[in-house]
Every structure is written in structure tokens, then in C-alpha cells.
Symmetry: C2
Subunit: 413 residues, 2 copies
């Protein structure tokens, strides 16, 4: 199916807000094997909307519009589309009632401009908004489907996945079931993933594969169709096994999972407690782990030991070791991990020390030199790294590897 | 001037990459008072490029194209545009030489497909790329200007500001000078800023004003034109004074400055050292401050004291205080700030304790309750907050307020 996307709003054409909807819609339709012909943004302007709609109507079979469905005077999408197709606007009583109830639920005072959100072009089919008051609608004109959704990304995303894609599939009389799985990897380049999977029999399995790099991570997205969800999922499982076979140690999660969420869940499930000693990551690992609700049960403390004195006082690293090997060294990293574990009386101690730059490089230790150590009271694992990125990139990749080392420790990978 | 933007790339229409260029271009042209008619994205496809170009040529006076200027076979923008205007492609020897030299400088091996990047439509004016090998070019057809830039955002942004905007202004015979200043605010809503500045005489001063919310910050952008840069800057200064008069305590910086960078520079200039005791922010303040190069000189240590025990051991908070008032209380916050200052022997101690949710609320202390304290050895300032956001939002706004309190402490605001 050929799709055109039209996003509407002065906040887009003034550069005030970046359009997130087009990319989200494109990604989710592309996975289904549909083609995005054009993504067009115009302002809240009657003529521009009509013009943009005409451009897409000439070329696409389905058109998805977002934005301009709110109650204020600059929200003109519904009336502009009605005018473009010469349709009157009609109040939908059920929608009006729903909007009133939803506003009362939010303790918002009803003002008459909200009634605008219950107006739809005659003949349009309403599309429920499960996350807000701006309902969407769909129209069929000249054999083409036009779908209109609100501009707020959280509302548009829910409506696209929950209502609009099923609607298009009904219109296409597409009764196949589609299954998708996102496999999340990290600490590996796109070209290495490409190479590792080059010989995998995805086509024979009837599964399409897409790579989506999102530094510092990478998503491998598998999509399959079949006559039932079970059969489509079966194809996905076979394809997933191929990916796992080649790239197991780089996979940290699936679908909506985050690396910090996976690590926190693994530690919790084994009832393992953790203490952190961060130097060059400066608290980023603690920040990420504490983004996970309930992480207070596993993260006993995190120490950002930026100074040598703090490494000595809080982590019990002997000054002689720092003098002899340097604060950025395998020896110091190991003692930091062991020291924080001991003083915090946790199961695990994890440390990071490195040179994030731009200053601080010494002979034999360029910017990007990082040591990460993990102590469990029996043994201490330490890995050296040499990262090519800038200060923030080095911090981010160091936190990424630290979390991967924790994950692999628990899973035994 | 009426502008159309055309971004080209299969990575855009497949949703693999989000288009950042359109928004950046729009923002910078809008500030000059130019109008963005449409922002259109199409794939690396000859017919789609021609079609999109025709749509914009009919409507705009100037067209800015980005993407598809690389050396690989899917980069077809130059040839598609040449074909669209019936122009032959010609190799530019100077550009060829420059590309060869730049690649040698990067230690990259020359392959013949790179010569493609020295091909331009006959009659096009080259536009230098100061950040990469893909040069841009401009054409005049039917009285309209078409500018083509590379798709890599860092290269496109540099080329837009350094070459393309001056080129358009020359074509418009616009000899006025334009001055812009970005005033950065935080911990205030867009509507409060709008209200505070409603009566300011910007129009009389000949200055246009735009608001750009970027949670948790907000930019007020002032733009002025005059016959010289000095005169334009003079207008900006008068307008800026109006903003400062109304909103001084919310302003933290200008143009490219970050809040953490401003705070680090202020502390450094006064030779003040800092120690942090973070509970609900979980290391985010330390992470932000350590993003600033050289921050190791001022941040002696940062302690993420998530557990009560760590507050007692590391910050010397008496267990009786935590029992009586709770870990999230004014009393505990103050003792945390004083404790970390004392044990780290720094000039300042800053603490944050709060309930980031979703769990952890108690009677009288709902999710979003946060206390931030700042101790200097003489007095300890403590501010209570009640934030409405989710877990990440509460962490981010707490870090924002903590940094603002540090800034205001040093500047005396």
C-alpha cells in the first residue's frame, strides 16, 4: 500500500517543535511492507492544507494526517479537510458526551470551544482517542482512505497502532496476521550486525528484517505475516533463534525493554544488591539504574569518586596504588570495585575509571581509555576499553558496557 | 521570502532516521522573518525527487534540499536535480582536488565512486562544506533559488548558517544586518513567560520575539535587523534588558550555554569546590556537572545515598532524625548537605531527597515531594518542592532546581 503523511501545525513550520509523528508512522507502516511516498508538513493554513492534501491524494492510496484537532482557533484541520472535500461539518453527540465526561474526569472546566472537537465532516467514521479528547476520523474519497489523527505524539502513536493500522488492513481486506519483534542489541556496530546476519535464512522463513541504529543501541526488527497470530509468531521465533545464535552476547532485551530495566530486573530476581564507584561516568550509571522504579531495593549506594582523595577515603584504594599505576588503571579499577562492595556490604561492586577528555590524556593512556571492574567477593572481573567518541559518548558507552557486564554476570553469558 | 524544504533519503521514509534538518532550517529562517510553506521528505527515488521539487517550485521563492549527496549508489540527489532541470553534470576539478585532499587527511583510501561528489549540474554555484566531503550547490531557475546541502545534520547546519543564509540574503539584495540572541530560562512555564513579557515594548524596539519550550528549559529568541551589526545588537540589548527586568531569576544563560556549564564556570571562577548528596536524583546532578570538561577541579565527590544506612554512614545523618522526620524531609535534606560538605571538606554541600515515584508516597508526602538543600558552612538553605511529573520528569526538574540554586547562590540572585 502506498501511503502519504501530512503533518499540520505552525509549530512545525516555524521550527518550534520537531515533527515526531511522521517518523513513527513511517517506521510502523514500513515494517508492514507498505511504502511511504512522501512526508509533508504544512502550517495551520486552510489553503496549504488543501494543497498538501491534493498533492498526496494524486499519488498515495492512503493518507494519514496528524495535528490541528484541538479546541483553539488555530486548530483548523477538521474544517480545512471538510472544505477540501466539500463536506459539511456535523456534531457527533456521542463524541460530545465523551469529551464532556473526560474533561470532568480531569477536573477541567467546560468551555464552548471544546464542542469543536465533536465536529466531523459528514460521512466520516470517528476514531476513538484512548489518551485524550481529540478524536480522529477517517474518510473515503476517490477510492482512497484519509485518516486524521491528533498531533500530540502520545495520542497519535496509540491511535496509529490501536485503530489506524487495523482500519487500513480491513480496507485492504488483509486478513493475514502480522507479528513483530524488536530485538535490542548494544556494543556492536550496524555493519557487524549486518555481516553476522548476512547468511541467515530470513527470506526462506518468510520474515523481513530491519536494522535501526539508536546510539548507543541498535534494534533488529523482525516482522512476519501468516493466517494466524500463532503461525506468524512461529516464524518470528525461528528468525529470532538465528539472531540469538549469532549475536547472543550483544542482545540485552526485547520490544519496550531498556538495558537498565533488564539489569535491575535480573538483579532483583536473584536478590543481588549493588554498589557503584563511578569516576569518568560521573553518576550516569546510578542515574540510569535509578530511572527504574523500585531500584532503591537493589542499589545500596553509588559513589562518584572524582578526586583521588575520595577514592582513598570512600573506596579504601591505597594512595600508593594510585601513585604507582594511576587513577585510570586496571589496578585502581579493581580496588575501587572491591572497595565499594566492602564498604557498602553489597553482593556486587562495580567501578568505572577512565579519561573522558578532552583533557587528561597521558602517555600510553589516550582520551577514551576506560577500565570497568565488577567484584563479587570471590573474583573481580576487569575489562579495558579504548573508546573513539567525545566526552559524552565515552560516558554513555562506558555506562552501556558496565550494564552489559552486570547483565552477563547474572545470566552467565 | 517564501521557502520550501525538501529532505531526501530512504532512511527518512522508512522511519529509520528522524529528519532533524527541516526543523533546524525552519527555526533559523523563521527567525529572519521568512515563511516556511512546506517541509517535504521523499525517498532516494528519481521520480519522487522530481515530483517533490516541482511541488515546491510552484509555490516557493527559495527551495532548500538536503540529503543524498554522498558517494554511494543510493545517493542520487545531484543527478535527479540535474535531470529535473534538464542540465548536464560537469566535474568540478577544484572540488575533486579538495575531496581527495580531505580524504587523505582522514587517512581514507580513495575509491573512484568519490569522484561523484565533484559532479555538479552545469551552471550551479558550488557551496563549500567546511565539515565534510559532500559540497553543496545552488541554482537559479525560473527566478527561484534552489540550494542543495548534504544530509548529515552537523554538515547541513554549518552550511546553512555559514553559507546558505548569506547567499539567500545576497539574492534578496537584503543588506540589513541581522542579530540574534537566545536567552535561556528554566523553572518557569511558557505561559508565565508570555504573561511577564506581554507589555514589553519589543515591537517599538524593532525586535521580534519567539518562545521555544525545550523541557525542562525554555528559549526566548530575540531577532533584530538594522543597517549595521552594531545597531542591530543595540536593539537586541534594549530588548534583552526588558526580559532581564522581568525574569532575571529564571535566566541561566545565553546562546549555546548549558545550565551545568554555567554553574561549573561560576564555581570555578570563585574557586568554590562542591560535594553532592543525591537521593531521588540518583546521580543525575553529578552526571550533568561531569559532562562539563574540567569539572573534576570543582566536583570533589558525589554520593548517591539511596539507602538510609548510606545516609547515616556517609553523610553522618543521625538515625534518630530519619526515624523522626523521614528520609524525605527538610531536616534530613539539611543534614545531608551539611554532612557531605563536612566529610568531603568542600566549600559547598548540596543535597536532594524526594519521592520520584511511582511508589513511596506516604501520608502528607505525595509522589513529587522533593527537598533540596545547599550548605556553605555558615548557613544552610533548604527549599521544598512538589512536582507534578513522572519519575524521570521529577528527577530532571529536581536536578534543574538544584543547579539553579547553586547558580543563584554564587551570583547572589
Amino acid at each position: 500500500m502506498k501511503i502519504g503523511i501530512l503533518t499540520i501545525g505552525n509549530e512545525l513550520t516555524s521550527g518550534k517543535t520537531q515533527d515526531r509523528n511522521s517518523s513513527f508512522i513511517a517506521r510502523n507502516l514500513y515494517r508492514l511492507g507498505w511504502q511511504i511516498l512522501a512526508m509533508l508538513s504544512v502550517g495551520d493554513d486552510d489553503a496549504a492544507i488543501k494543497d498538501g492534501l491534493a498533492f498526496l491524494m494524486e499519488r498515495a492510496e492512503g493518507i494519514i494526517v496528524t495535528g490541528g484537532l484541538g479546541p483553539t482557533t488555530d486548530d483548523i484541520t477538521t474544517s480545512a479537510i471538510a472544505r477540501a472535500f466539500d463536506l459539511p461539518l456535523v456534531t457527533d453527540e456521542a463524541a460530545l458526551q465523551n469529551i464532556k465526561e473526560r474533561m470532568a474526569g480531569y477536573n477541567l472546566i467546560w468551555t464552548d470551544n471544546n464542542a469543536k472537537q465533536a465536529l466531523f465532516p459528514a460521512g466520516a467514521a470517528k476514531i476513538v482517542n484512548r489518551a485524550g479528547t481529540a478524536w480522529g476520523f477517517s474518510l473515503k474519497r476517490n477510492g482512497k482512505i484519509i485518516v486524521v489523527m491528533p498531533g500530540v505524539p502520545s495520542e497519535a502513536e496509540k491511535m496509529l497502532l490501536g485503530e489506524v493500522i487495523p482500519l487500513f488492513r480491513r480496507e485492504l481486506a488483509d486478513t493475514t496476521e502480522v507479528a513483530t519483534r524488536i530485538i535490542k542489541l548494544t556494543c556492536i556496530s550496524e555493519s557487524a550486525v549486518d555481516q553476522a546476519l548476512a547468511a541467515a535464512p530470513f527470506a526462506e522463513l518468510g520474515v523481513t528484517v530491519g536494522f535501526y541504529p539508536r546510539f548507543p543501541e541498535l534494534e533488529v526488527v523482525l516482522t512476519a505475516r501468516d493466517t494466524s497470530q500463532d503461525k506468524a509468531l512461529q516464524k518470528i521465533s525461528l528468525a529470532e533463534a538465528e539472531v540469538v545464535k549469532k549475536l547472543a552476547q550483544h542482545i540485552f532485551g526485547y520490544d519496550q525493554e531498556t538495558l537498565e530495566g533488564v539489569v535491575a530486573a535480573l538483579l532483583s530476581s536473584r536478590k543481588l544488591t549493588l554498589a557503584l564507584a563511578e569516576s569518568c561516568t560521573g553518576g550516569l550509571i546510578a542515574d540510569r539504574l535509578t530511572d527504574v522504579p523500585g531500584s532503591s531495593a537493589l542499589l545500596e549506594r553509588g559513589l562518584v569518586t572524582y578526586s583521588d582523595v575520595s577514592k582513598e577515603e570512600l573506596l579504601l584504594v591505597p594512595p600508593a596504588i594510585i601513585r604507582q599505576y594511576g587513577a585510570v588503571s586496571r589496578e585502581t579499577a579493581i580496588l575501587m570495585a572491591e572497595g565499594v562492595r566492602k564498604t557498602a556490604r553489597t553482593d556486587l561492586g562495580l567501578s568505572v575509571t577512565g579519561i573522558a577528555g578532552p583533557d587528561g590524556a597521558t602517555a600510553g593512556k589516550p582520551v577514551g581509555t576506560v577500565f570497568i571492574a565488577l567484584a563479587d567477593g570471590t573474583k573481580t572481573l576487569c575489562r579495558p576499553f579504548s573508546f573513539p567518541w567525545d566526552r559524552r559518548g565515552i560516558k554513555v558507552m562506558s555506562s552501556q558496557w558496565a550494564l552489559i557486564m552486570l547483565k552477563n554476570y547474572v545470566t552467565g553469558d
